[in-house]
Symmetry: C2
DNA sequence: TAGATTGTTAATCGATTAACAATC
DNA sequence: TAGATTGTTAATCGATTAACAATC
């Protein structure tokens, strides 16, 4: 922090920050850097070199330095990277510090699992509201204020959300997604298993799809077996 | 199927199948092709062109054709790709047809959610055994035979598993993973949140990490906001 | 200062795109 | 046959690697 300031003071603001394209591949790796750094903090590691960090991520030291260089000037020559500082900077890049607000839609067990998992704390997301399919009286004093879907309009008016974590049944997934967007939601974490089509291009969606890493696992098992069998 | 056979008959076996490197990027996309094709089957789509498939996946038609070409000869000129045939072939590549056997370790709610989600059916994985932390009498006649962790050795001897879905508490994650590997497990789907280090290189691991797509979501929200604010 | 490690450049490699010939 | 769409090649683009100078 004071390091960056010194550089700014010496050379003028942002002079050293590369204006090179934020490189798709590097961006895609940021969440994993963030996760690895979080574990390093837990392990009380204060300092890490591009060499070590690369090894933990399955990347070369060169690649780590190139990646980080795209986003700023985070290292110290002859020393490496301060774990906490880097973690914080990457968090800022990702938007962890922005205090985004989420509405949790649907009351599947997955919704509970995610809520209990700590990912909302880790990602800096504030869960502000829950909408359920059950037509019960609103429970605005529950740990997380809960309203039935029919009250979505007033509920979201009072507690606007940037993003939705969508666990609706697959039959109504698209319909619910469109309704949320029309109420101001700009991003959807889609846990319905159904691809969300027809949304405005400005709406960001990402799918919760655990079958993908599982299938990659199978692919490697399959390749290993073939490799062992053949030679 | 008979198409491939005809080609084989005409030009000799595997002649047309490219021996080009299976291209990391293309391999990484296979699970998503598989998922999209599965939805097309549900929607009763019989035939699809590289153009349409590309649009659904956010790729160009060229890219789709290049991707698929790495793995075989799946299309028909002038026609496109038969959805079911392509789905089946990609499934074979991924190992869905191999009938891999999984041991489910730990009884967190996430384990239940995954079990109920249908991903094991979709990926062709047979769940053969469950190991729990609870020291109860074995329940070998439950829908999924369940044994306490202490009985792991005999349980896995009787029902060997290729892979483990690991939902152990974070404190013991590494220890449990090593024990499983020593009992013959060759791949681990790691849902513990803890990075698994020190395992033999031959063991494949993939992490269940929903915070990564969530963080990518935030990143895009953040970039959008900045883009809108600046110009 | 000497040692370490980043930042940065240039070279290599791989992946994507575009265009078109092959063929269903 | 004519139309459509793949398979395939070559050109472009982007990402990774390697090497070293800058600097802490």
């Amino acid at each position: 922090m004071d390091r960056i300031d010194r550089i700014k003071g010496t050379f003028g603001a942002t002079k050293k920050v590369k204006k090179i394209p934020p490189s798709g591949a590097a961006v895609a790796r940021l969440p994993r850097y963030f996760r690895v750094l979080s574990h390093l903090i837990d392990a009380k590691v204060l300092r890490i070199s591009s060499e070590e960090l690369g090894e933990m991520m399955g990347l070369t030291a060169s690649q780590v330095r190139q990646d980080l260089r795209h986003f700023g000037d985070f290292g110290q020559q002859g020393y490496g990277y301060q774990v906490k500082f880097l973690y914080q900077k990457i968090g800022e890049l990702l938007g962890v510090a922005e205090g985004y607000r989420a509405v949790l839609v649907g009351d599947s067990p997955l919704q509970e699992v995610l809520l209990a998992s700590g990912i909302y704390r880790e990602t800096g997301i504030h869960c502000v509201l829950r909408l359920t399919a059950r037509e019960e009286a609103p429970q605005p004093n529950a740990p997380l204020p809960t309203f039935p879907w029919s009250a979505r309009e007033s509920a979201l008016a009072e507690r606007p959300a940037d993003l939705a974590v969508l666990c609706a049944p697959s039959g109504v997934a698209r319909e619910v997604a469109h309704a949320l967007v029309s109420l101001g939601v700009r991003a959807i974490f889609n846990c319905t298993g159904v691809p969300l089509t027809g949304l405005p291009a400005s709406v960001v969606t990402f799918d919760f799809a655990p079958e993908e890493p599982l299938l990659r696992l199978l692919y490697h098992l399959t390749q290993d077996t073939q490799t062992k069998d053949l030679p």
